[in-house]
Point group: C2
Chain length 253, copies 2
DNA sequence: GCTTTCATTTCGTAC
DNA sequence: GTACGAAGTGAAAGC
């Protein structure tokens, strides 16, 4: 077993990577604290308990977990299972590390809403800090916006003679994705969903159409069209019962 | 700079923690592959690109990221910002690592839906594998279930004379959280929300009440009550317009 | 496998 | 800060 610190790529702000396997609790706390001060991405793996209190509250008994603290103030506690962290705090939290008795204690707090997460390590198997150099942004395709642009480029994908007049058109119930009119001059509200939808999306469209009817004092001549790849059975029932329509379209192709 | 492998707590399945700072690409791939075979939690930090294609598609140019592969087949790619991973795959995916030219390539795939994530490292700053021993489960309070139990313990929190008859009572539109009757014997549908709600929750309750009216052929005597800490203005309007009621209650205390 | 709903949802955006 | 809706939402329960 080795417990020497290992570093790589030292620059003026310190080592770009700093790792210690089986550190003493004091060493672990010191490295974590240095990481916080140096705006490093800090990770710690070890045997710990986790307590959370805020919007809800939770406790987690002793076990091995991987903890990641980001320089933006977020913290993630991962077990060996699941895509989601078992505990976390969002960006903007204040992080502190200390040693209390024979424990390394990591505290993360924020206000509005008041939330507090405490990780207590009885043993730290590894602690690391990383300087992150990342200027790139994610490019994502296949979103609802892509579906909207597809339709704006070629409105006949909705139906022949459809004319978009506005996007995000405000109503008393919220914004309509695409507001337009059909070949006969009737008002049309189009609600977009990038994937197969259930009853909730129909409810959304129904609220917008209702709001338009109230806003425009025009009881008969407003159509609501849901555009998505497909709908569930209950959604189809609800569309039918509310006199709404459906057009099948995907964000890509 | 050091590049020796560091290990801790070796047992019959290999070292419980194994870390290498600034490994060669070949070493990195080998350690990652060993981690996959040994059902370890595997992390890698380095300069990489990320490409995803599946339900949507995305690309991410070169930058430093932290990649975590769990033994359950999930993978998480984190930048230095945000609580959410910039890219990921859910549990159940198949992971493979290889060296292609001067790159370490990590591939994660699944079917239904067909999705593929590829991380290409041009440099690996650190790679680690962890044996995770965690038998504990999270205990969480302040959920919707807690709110339900609060009401079942003391139905008068909803209103005097309220009698719960069933939970998760099925209708054509979905399950009603608490189904019961009031002091006058009228049917009551209660929809629970653990926090402040918007129009969507009102739509949900409205669908259930509608479904009950159709199911029970009982047009007048069905009440719908939304129970949550509070509602937004639009939600209040929608409740009013649909003849639904609101009771303020939190999951805790 | 699909559907439905909850979630400490998170995240972005507009007011 | 609040509100509203999108998300590669994820996760669980029911069918």
């Amino acid at each position: 077993m080795q417990s020497e610190p290992v570093t790589a790529g030292t620059d003026d702000t310190g080592p770009r990577i700093r790792t210690n396997v089986d550190p003493s609790l004091r060493e672990a706390a010191e490295i974590i604290d240095d990481g916080f001060r140096g705006d490093r991405l800090v990770t710690a793996f070890g045997r710990c308990t986790v307590d959370y209190d805020g919007r809800a509250s939770s406790t987690l008994g002793l076990g091995d977990r991987h903890v990641m603290c980001k320089p933006d103030g977020s913290i993630l506690v991962h077990t060996d299972e699941g895509q989601q962290p078992v505990n976390w705090q969002p960006p903007g939290c204040t992080h502190e590390v200390s040693t209390e008795g024979d424990r390394v204690v990591l505290e993360s707090e924020r206000s509005t809403p008041a939330e507090r997460l405490v990780v207590e390590f009885e043993r730290v198997g590894q602690v690391s800090t990383f300087a992150v150099d990342d200027a790139t942004e994610l490019s994502l395709d296949g979103t609802e916006e892509d579906l909207r642009n597809r339709i704006l480029d070629d409105p006949e994908l909705v139906e022949q003679g459809f004319t978009p007049l506005a996007t995000e058109r405000e109503t008393a119930a919220g914004a309509i994705d695409i507001f337009g009119e059909d070949a006969d001059g009737r008002t049309v509200a189009v609600e977009l969903k990038r994937k197969r939808v259930g009853p909730d999306a129909v409810g959304q469209l129904d609220r917008y159409v209702d709001a338009l009817r109230r806003d425009l004092h025009d009881d008969a001549d407003i159509r609501g069209i849901l555009v998505s790849p497909s709908v569930t059975d209950r959604a189809a029932d609800l569309l039918e019962r509310n006199g709404l329509e459906f057009v099948s379209l995907t964000p890509r192709k």
